[in-house]
Symmetry: none
DNA sequence: TCCCCGGCTGAGCGCGATCTGAACGGCGCG
DNA sequence: CGCGCCGTTCAGATCGCGCTCAGCCGGGGA
């Protein structure tokens, strides 16, 4: 999952970037509204954390523009305590959630998880597919009850696949959502990791669709509608 | 499905060509308005992605000419940010959708799917015909619930047939829509692939109309559940 | 009936896509 | 500072796909 963090306070943004990174997100950071707007337009984020008090262009304006352009990426707004009007206008502008500063990193993470879940149209807090099960809260996955030992990237890969199970995901899409901006596009890391993941969760789970990408096959008996 | 990509920016067009190819389209590329106009006149595209700022002939003019000539191919326009007047004149000229640069590849793909669906007069996001069902979003097809394992070309073939079920499709038409420009016209690949497809979806689905082509027969008793 | 033409099919080939094992280099930790 | 873990790279192996070819079949007209 890839997140755009828009925050001008240097300390806070560094701290958040770390926390988000630790939580397994690929993080891009924008320090002002202009940069935020550009990045959000350019890169396919899964979710945006948007501070409102920003240099150059105000957060609300950035959000408004995105929405006017038809972007539906979930946005979580950070507001200063008591800045009530900000909150309202933020929601009006199309925010999906908000959080008042100061806050606990934990809460931010929880809200992000919820947002991602909602935006993927998934009800339950844990993902499952066949004997596979993944709990974003604990960042832990199991195959038929057995806990898996996954590295960070393996986990992220599995997470993304499970969020979009049944769909063919192109290598490009994976790269765009697992990594942040600067990443060498022609490299076969994805293949390598798919390989490693297969070795851990069983070879039949991830189907490769030649010329298109990969698909995590939801075995029969799944509820979850698209 | 075959798409004409009209874009003069070298980097962007290369990137888009890749992405479109990945998504299973046959892609032709025109780098200026003249070429675009010629290709659009000559080849039967299913959809056109048209950049507006073009050398030689402007995108809007190209579109206007096509429309004047009676072409109804859906056209998606790419505009530079904020070029509002372009957008308006683009719509006036007969565009079906627009996207402002920069944009996410995924959004372009989603909009193209929507356009193709709309242009075929199909409401539901998934195609169905008899026990056959095809979901373009997941790039997956099923026969009476059983998932099919189709190769890229088999899938494209089936997709095209299902989009035009009930109509006789000539071999030429198939070739023109499944491949890009340079393709050896006297070859029997189509027959081979029809054969393979029949083997996978059952022999009675695709009817041969001698001397004319093939027809996918929509059996009686369709309910179609979205 | 025989021949011609269009369509069908099984086999096989070449290429590019994908996989995989091994090795490298950075980083954190003891 | 040495060790182990991890992400990445590379090169060779492998495999599947799309295409061609050649022969077969079946229908229809002469």
């Amino acid at each position: 999952m890839r997140v755009l963090l828009v925050e001008d306070d240097v300390d806070l943004s560094r701290q958040l970037k770390l926390a988000l990174g630790d939580a397994g997100y690929a993080v891009d950071h924008a320090a002002d509204g202009e940069e935020a707007h550009f990045l959000g337009d350019t890169e396919p984020y899964d979710v945006v954390v948007l501070d409102l008090g920003l240099p150059k262009i105000d957060g609300v304006s950035v959000l408004e523009r995105w929405r006017r352009d038809g972007k539906t990426t979930p946005v979580l707004i950070l507001t200063a305590r008591g800045a009530w009007s900000d909150k309202v206008s933020g929601f009006d502008a199309g925010a999906d959630d908000y959080l008042t500063k100061p806050f606990h990193t934990e809460e931010l993470l929880a809200r992000l998880r919820a947002l991602l879940r909602r935006s993927a149209g998934i009800a339950s807090a844990t993902l499952s597919c066949g004997g596979l099960r993944l709990d974003p809260r604990a960042a832990r996955a199991t195959v038929s009850g057995e806990p898996l030992r996954l590295t960070s990237l393996e986990y992220r890969l599995l997470h993304y696949l499970m969020m979009h199970q049944g769909r063919v995901i192109s290598r490009t899409e994976l790269v765009e959502h697992l990594y942040d901006q600067d990443f060498d596009r022609d490299s076969n890391t994805i293949e390598v990791f798919v390989g490693r993941l297969r070795k851990k969760i069983g070879p039949d789970r991830i189907e490769t669709v030649r010329g298109l990408g990969y698909r995590l096959t939801p075995l029969a008996g799944e509820s979850d509608g698209t």
